[in-house]
Symmetry: D2
Subunit: 347 residues, 4 copies
């Protein structure tokens, strides 16, 4: 079977690199093109950027000549790791030109006709694509990294018990700020109790993701009340979040753990390559999950939960951990593409 040729927009940045790393040996997709800003265009990839991952850059991909983002590309499928300063227009341009744009950028997340997808959570929202205005092309987006961990862990609970309120405090990894991201002088021996724009994303995205798709392809947003407080900590990868939740129904602790345990993943059942069998893993140990030890579970695609206990102000409180650059960025976006491929939407 021939692999589907894909292009990567914004290939030189940290998320672009992660796309390259995860797609270098992928059974369904094959990196055909790399595109980046004018500054890098025309250069050999390996000389045009500073590789910051510990997984090695594939030699053949390192030799590719970077194309200019905004010019004509050959691949039907484009993964976008574009900077939000340019992603909006460029993604629209490529969608209009017939490309399937699967994006990690935030620009189109709130477009009423663009689905915001976590493959295990709202695969049915991919239906929205056919109502889009882009002809052959379309845009699908991946949520914010902190949203993804929380919402995936909450999915089976929302399905079974109905979520009314969410109070979230995050402790987010440095890699979430991209590269170069934070100065070492700013985060070493420190916590920064603020991440620009992040709280707003966490407070709004879940209601779109959990929304109901109406007949005309419009999402009726869910109306969970959400408060978020975001902090940056001295950890390289892995966002940890404390979550307090109130349900519509009275729920026993054991039911929650069961709901996580029994959660069935549609992408896994459909055979998506990156989908972990059990996308949610509950730890009974008092002091788990922890970023350094558990972020790589399921090749970084499994979300870990722990410390579930009753709460005085909400029904329950617990912690969630997810790998922000895999599950929360490149890996999650690739899983969307795998699901599109399994459903015949891209081929």
């Amino acid at each position: 079977m021939e692999k589907i040729k894909v292009g990567i927009l914004g290939a030189t940045g940290s998320v672009g690199q992660k796309f390259i790393s995860l797609l270098s040996d992928h059974p369904v997709f094959e990196i055909h093109e790399l595109a980046a800003s004018e500054r890098s265009a025309g250069k050999v990839y390996k000389n045009a950027m500073k590789w910051i991952l510990d997984a090695e850059l594939n030699e053949n991909i390192g030799k590719k000549i970077i194309k200019k983002a905004g010019e004509k590309l050959e691949s039907r499928v484009l993964f976008s790791a574009l900077d939000s300063g340019v992603a909006g227009e460029l993604e629209t341009y490529y969608a209009k030109n017939g490309h399937a744009v699967i994006s990690n950028a935030r620009n189109h997340r709130t477009d009423p006709d663009v689905p915001l997808i976590i493959p295990e959570v709202n695969p049915e929202h991919l239906e929205m694509i056919k109502y889009q205005k882009y002809g052959e092309g379309f845009i699908v987006t991946n949520p914010n990294c902190s949203t993804i961990g929380a919402v995936l862990a909450l999915k089976p609970l929302h399905d079974k018990f109905g979520i009314k309120k969410l109070n979230i405090v995050t402790m987010q990894a440095m890699s979430g700020a991209g590269y170069p991201g934070l100065s070492s002088m700013d985060i070493f021996d420190n916590v920064v109790p603020y991440i620009s724009g992040e709280e707003d994303k966490i407070e709004t995205e879940p209601n779109k993701i959990f929304g109901k798709l109406s007949e005309n392809g419009i999402i009726e947003h869910e109306n969970i009340k959400i408060s978020a407080q975001c902090n940056r900590v001295n950890v390289i990868d892995g966002h940890l979040e404390t979550i307090q939740v109130t349900f519509d129904k009275k729920v026993e602790k054991v039911q929650i753990i069961e709901a996580w345990h029994d959660f069935e993943s549609i992408p896994y059942k459909e055979g998506c390559y990156s989908a972990p069998k059990n996308p949610i893993r509950y730890f009974h140990e008092d002091n788990y999950p922890q970023p350094r030890i558990h972020r790589n579970l399921g090749n970084g695609m499994t979300v870990s939960t722990g410390r579930l206990r009753e709460c005085k102000f909400f029904d329950y409180k617990f912690v969630v951990l997810s790998h922000n650059t895999v599950r929360g960025a490149a890996g999650g976006t690739i899983l969307i593409a795998e699901l599109l491929e399994k459903n015949g939407i891209i081929k």
Copy 2:
């Protein structure tokens, strides 16, 4: 004027060292005796422990011979940095033998006749001392390090607006675990979402501290509803806490900032050496306060607040930072002693 001779119980541990460091050049107190466990007793101090502070050990104190905790001591005032495994009995013993025991250990914090003091918050609770059963001696305790930062920041708000609910998530420094404390393998590149016993302390101590002293020396506990979630982060000193608060009254944001700004410190007014003029400092910058930059404000005795904003579930949310080994341990305990001295209770 002659200085008051003091002894330090548990002098070899990390809090004991901090006591020594802060008292080495103190205008009111003079380190007369050091006491520790059998293992160290009889040894020259500087050879009996591993000094872990960056402030240098005073040479004369380094030469003192360590006495055995549990044997007769000469100093009327004893600062206790004893391990909770032995602090309960030993502190009782010394109080019964006429000593003023001012303790950083948790053992007697919940005793109904023992005051739990933050000098700027509840100095009037020192009255309880005269109802104690120890004769000439007495015991006063310092709250948990995370409690102190939060409660000091909340004091002017509780006085003016009445606090009903508190939802707290902490990001606590490694030094809070003592020495050797955490293995480097456990906290490097990591967050540990659990600290044994800590959440319970934060959920109960504030209600004693904010309690009303009745005529018979008994504290009528306040009944603020409190939920705490505690995390250990890769920071050496400085506990950061996100706090969500609901008041009895409707309050404007500006009133809260004013309340912090106008807060008057009794220990400062009484001339206590370690009392900062403004014990609470509000930062208007979005990303402040931060442990590395602000923990040493007011020689580590000032508590910093920031990010005050409205909350969907509580009235307001904000962050608090305090230096856990200074304001939250040795420094706070010494300030209690200074206040006792100013009030003629120790001399």
Copy 3:
């Protein structure tokens, strides 16, 4: 083909865990038994230790009951991750009882009849086994973690140009101290310019490894003059070393790079599973290699070199990086076993 059953001595410690992790899915070896001290013996493995690796513990191995080190074991091949306090006697005991003991402990490294093996460097020393006094059993040892990185990088240079002098300064990772190893308070924001016993090992082990095997199975030690200065840095895995070297012959820089590039690995040619094709990798970039980025090259078995330049006091200076718990400990030891298997010595 049936896998060879192996046991792991000292299975609960950090090196023991790494053995388990690397052997859980090994094509030649199968973990049959786990042994540890009395404290752990009789317990289910997953409950008997604190798993500190980010790779997950294999479920089946987690269920094994730990046997007591010192009692009879069934596996012919035993990997030893025993603490040096007990390794000497226990390894002798098992060798005498017919086991092939392949050890990461330091105790028998200097025994005149025990080979000290880096599979790519001195595979011919395995001949020594037949001169050992243990009957069917034998002992083979793995060198110190810092020795391994340096000596492997120096092997092709020694073969071609003859090494006379080595001046080494190390910057070693925290994981080298085992678990719990260093207190977080001791190594955070710090460098410790001392590692007990380490300098001596680096100054002596290379001369045994580079030694000539005489007819009676005795090693004639090489006599390279070596000076080592060892430091512990705030890095989790990966020892970086600056090396200054003087050769017997005049050598051009390009010859050294060629020697590294052309180096052929006997274990790789013999098909050993863990042997990387190119065990030495030279980086031309000024600021490479770096622990976080390059320690995992070749699944942690490749040694990286860089910054080769002329030196005023020696002929050349350069840096070497190697993964201390893979190439420098469990991985290197397993590669010895793979080589023994390929040569029919264990089966």
Copy 4:
């Protein structure tokens, strides 16, 4: 006595901030003017930069309006923390206009008529000032941060035993790279074995500093042979260096320790405010000095040494630690100014 008014060139950067911090409460100097690039000129200081120090910005200084570097300034004495991209020309300009320019920038360090001063090492080189071509003004420079620690520790040894060879490996703190300096992604969990330009500075500056001043104000450089290898480590402040040294004479270990112990500081004897009584401190403990614990000795102006032992290739090896932003930058530069004031050269 009136304080001497001083200006700070490059006041907004990390070294500029350190100058401000150290001069805010100085008994001899008073900050009169702040100058910076066009981008900051005209702004109120506290709004024009991001304060990165844990010591608080003095309120009055925070209110000063920044002047433009390159325009006329009023203060006779100017401390330069200018970026090397502009320092060369601007410092010349101010010297020509009658200012005493005391600089931490590297541009004029190698000028044959500009002294390169460590006040305890070569105060006599200040004589060179009168041979300068700048009329009333002059330029004095502070050496590189790594040079300073090493050379100060070597001064008494060079005086007594004559140094012939130096082999140096550094482990340098992040703050040495300024702000923002290194990306957190580049140095966290890492060592970078390269610092641009640094090795050359360490190999050349000591020979100027140790040089003899001839009658015409020209320095006859010393000819110690020096090799340096520089590494960046995950430490915030404090450069640690391993040093191997060969002397002209045969020396006993005890003589070296005595030389350090007995070293008399001219700036201290002359009453310079920042001069520590004992600028060199030898530690007998195996694992000392360490950056986190010892960098602040003598308010950051004391250099620590330790681990002195014989060496196979040189006479001795030992380690040196110095605070790179205090002793190695702003603090060292201020001490030069204090010495100039004591000698009546500035007033």
